[in-house]
Amino acid sequence: MNSMEQQFLEAGTLMVAGMVVVFAFLSLLILFITIVLAKLAVKFPDPIAPTTNRSNKKNKKAASGEISPAIVAAISGAVSRYRQQHSETNSKK
């Protein structure tokens, strides 16, 4: 019975020591992530290569004479509005 008590005591010590070490180790890891890794992330952000390529392609297309339909729609919308406004002011006169 005595040895069992001793075993319980050992198991208890092991439990306390084990949980303290697990928490301490993983808490240190939290500090490592929040201090070191977060700073690294700010200093060395991922390059955003794919998006710049796409915009380059669009620019190239525009430069080669092809105008995208969205731009055509925007210009024609602006022109028609300008004409409408212009005709209104003319009629008022």
Binding site: M4, Q7, F8, E10, A11, G12, L14, M15, A17, G18, M19, V21, V22, F23, F25, L26, S27, L28, L29, I30, F32, I33, T34, V36, L37, A38, L40, A41, F44, P45, D46
Partner: protein, 376 residues
């Protein structure tokens, strides 16, 4: 006549012992669980078959010079197979969710309570006549609560190789039972309102963070817990191969071919330890019971820790993700997601639960290192 008699004596029928027949049925039971119930089939199928092979009379699979004997001593006793598998798991693990929300490491730590509380249970079982667990054996059994197969096998071979078969069967069976064991505990410890909590979207994680993370973990393990470096080191190697992006071939091999080959041999080797004299005793029942207790305590402590963190945190934390702290990747995270969706159909917790889930893998490796350092 004499040659006929000799022939009869060389048959299995003439040499079968009752224990071998029972263990073959246990092997068939594992095959059933793997094939019909889809319980961790990758390991339970070779393990069940290994149990059948090792109990074949006359063939001597597990005797000196037998195939399974070589597999066991060469790969499992040396610790090679569990470590190679751990490297593969590292190559499969994405730490992004953990780096984005590092607080979830505390959930992975809390869930390890299951391991250490089970130590008490194992020692308490010594009061039952016929059961006599030493502290080493109790530690090897307790690691079942880490819900991590390779870690459990690694620690069992170091601390209590005679219990390896029962510990591996219990660890993998309970890992397969995560979707059944965890939800009732999660529901009992949380309110509907808590389960409905939606969490903020995680920040994007840069490549450099993911590359430095495994190196940082390794450094910390070297400084503070070198006993855990076999497990953590191999895990970090696999993860660095994945995240560095320069050795895609090695990373792909580690997470596919290599881990598959090793899993077959590991399963067979563990199955070879399922002999009648090692398995058919009251201690095995004790181990199976303790495994369930370990899992339940681990789940409960993870959920309670998440509840506590939710009380004090500025950003809301759904307590369900605490249950994923018991590793069992990615099953435990999926369970958290499923229970969360039941309460709130717009609540997708999977990515949030992956944080504590992979933290649990690190936590159980650290706990194994502590047990090795203090008991081994």
């Amino acid at each position: 006549m004499e040659s006929l008699n000799k022939l009869w004596l060389s048959t299995g029928l003439a040499n079968f012992e009752l224990g071998q027949v029972i263990m073959m049925l246990v092997g068939c039971g594992l095959l059933y669980l793997a094939i019909a119930r889809n319980f961790e089939p990758l390991l339970l199928l070779p393990m069940g078959f290994g149990a059948i092979l090792t109990n074949i009379p006359v063939a001597g699979f597990s005797e000196v010079g037998g195939f399974l004997n070589y597999v066991y001593h060469g790969g499992i006793e040396t610790g090679i197979f569990p470590l190679v598998i751990f490297m593969g798991v590292g190559a499969m693990t994405d730490f992004g969710a953990l780096i984005a929300n590092p607080k979830t490491l505390l959930l992975g730590a809390a869930a390890q309570t299951g391991i250490f509380a089970t130590l008490f249970g194992a020692i308490a079982l010594n009061a039952v006549p016929g059961i006599e667990f030493t502290l080493k054996e109790a530690s090897a059994i307790a690691i079942i609560g880490g819900a991590d197969g390779p870690t459990a096998i690694f620690l069992a071979t170091k601390l209590a190789p005679e219990l390896l078969g029962a510990i591996a069967v219990a660890a993998y069976s309970y890992m397969a039972l995560v979707p059944i064991i965890q939800p009732p505990i999660m529901r009992a410890l949380t309110t509907l309102e808590e389960r409905k909590i939606e969490m903020a979207q995680l920040r994007p994680v840069t490549k450099i963070e993911k590359v430095i993370f495994p190196l940082g973990v390794l450094m910390m393990t070297i400084f503070f817990l070198p006993a855990a470096t076999p497990l953590v080191g191999m895990f970090c190697l696999g993860n660095l191969m994945r995240e560095s992006g320069v050795v895609d071939r090695l990373s792909s091999t580690a997470q596919n071919e290599l881990i598959n080959i090793t899993t077959i041999l590991l399963g067979l080797g563990v199955g070879s330890k399922l002999s009648a004299e090692a398995f058919l005793n009251i201690e095995t029942l004790g181990i199976l019971g303790l495994g369930a207790v370990a899992f339940s305590i681990g789940t409960a402590s993870g959920v309670l820790m998440a509840k506590l963190m939710n009380k004090f945190s500025k950003v809301p934390i759904n307590p369900l993700i605490g249950a994923a702290g018991v590793s069992a990747v990615p099953m435990a995270a999926r369970v958290a997601n499923k229970v969360g969706l039941e309460a709130n159909p717009h609540n997708f917790l999977l990515m949030h639960a992956m944080g504590p889930n992979v933290a649990g893998v690190l936590g159980s490796a650290v706990a194994a290192g502590i047990l090795l350092a203090l008991v081994g």
